[in-house]
Symmetry: C2
Subunit: 251 residues, 2 copies
């Protein structure tokens, strides 16, 4: 037996609740309310466990996920809340999930700024069974809509924490994690790395790479051999190749 | 001895030449004029061989590349032509380079739509010494500003052609190229592939993958093993990992 579906309707985009939700487009308000918005069927399915309320403009979407609170809204309201060019007519209000369990391999992001890069890296991390992500406090917000879209919803399947990297890396070293930096200085080729059971892989800013104080804490630094015709790979590509290589031997 | 620098000045954004250049933001006009614009120091250096004219708003940039035609313009003109949020004050007018030489490994893109993905893939291709790119006619325009920025200027170091993929793949097969598709159906794991001296690797659309008629022409299809928790990798990541693996053995 299904529980009775709890449905109400909002027709004005000046409704107070809608105005509150629109504020979640700004990081400051997401931090304050500990909530964020996701758009579209795929992301709402991925976020299922953390969804509070689902706003729909088409009655056919009612009960698309069972046992959730639904609000029927106008297309105008969807457009007001949407951050995509062609909204799908369904928006979820999602509780932030903040937890971190360091019991497996870890991806560490040091001041990575581009939301598509962070989204793509989280998608690749989950693909290679790395479910723990540590972000420096100056990384882009993981609840930015472009990060969520770039991650294809994989942010709902990983654990993450924002923190001071130096402190956190010290903790991990005490727990016998192998700490891999990425750098061209004093680095070894990814082909020559022997597998370690627990590792943390650190990727850096798009322009500057991993910061010097963090590189001083690593056990070793890795590089991917590339043509002399080009300076570097995109950080999401480089990180994904390294995660692929480092986890390949455990399959 | 330097040749005398050829400099003129334009102050009005309504100048006919500036209005013509502004039209190059649209693909149709880039196709017609066989020209496009690049912005910023790094990209202008990368495009050096193909640059016709350099527009600068700061006199200090005069002669930044030797033996080119310079026009000093206002910041307003730079803003009119720029497609970035923070223009660097230097814009190059570049001749399109259309050539294709199938004498090495080849990357083939079938209806790839996202300009950042195409830019990133070209950057990775050059990184792994793949300098020939074939694009289906329905791929995004390689001279789109987001492709150029995503490629970090590597589009100036590769050969490319837009064409009908079925015909072109038939030609490559006659030249003994090994044709690799990417698919989850009837595919073999990338770990199990034996190196071939000349290959063409085909990547498909972000949503639909490689089209069925193209997959029928491949010698074999490759996949990258990933977690069951996720459907797929980003196409730029998947393509980069495959290029990395396929070219690794030739180093």
């Amino acid at each position: 037996m299904n529980r009775e579906v709890n449905v109400k309707e909002i027709k004005s985009s000046n409704n107070e609740y809608i105005k509150e939700l629109a504020k979640l487009k700004i990081k400051k308000n997401r931090d304050l309310e500990k909530k964020f918005l996701v758009e579209g069927y795929h992301l709402i399915e991925m976020a299922e466990d953390y969804i509070e309320t689902i706003l729909i403009s088409d009655i056919k979407d009612l009960n698309i996920i069972k046992n959730k609170k639904y609000i029927i809204v106008t297309k105008e309201i969807i457009n007001k809340l949407s951050q995509t060019q062609t909204p799908q007519g369904i928006i979820g209000v999602v509780r932030k999930k903040e937890e971190f369990i360091d019991d497996g391999n870890i991806l560490v992001l040091d001041n990575v700024q581009d939301p598509s890069n962070v989204g793509t890296l989280i998608r690749s991390a989950l693909s290679f069974n790395i479910q723990n992500i540590i972000l420096s406090n100056d990384c882009v917000d993981i609840y930015n809509d472009k990060v969520i879209r770039g991650s294809q919803g994989s942010i709902f399947k990983i654990n993450h924490i924002y923190c001071d990297l130096c402190e956190k890396i010290n903790e991990l070293k005490k727990k016998n994690y192998k700490i891999y930096g990425t750098s061209l200085k004093k680095a070894i080729c990814i082909d020559e790395v022997k597998f370690e059971n627990h590792f943390a892989l650190i990727l850096g800013n798009e322009g500057q790479g991993v910061s010097d104080d963090i590189l001083q804490q690593t056990d070793c630094n890795l590089y991917i051999p590339i043509s002399s015709q080009i300076d570097s790979l995109n950080v999401a590509v480089a990180g994904s190749i390294l995660m692929y290589e480092l986890t390949k031997q455990t399959k």
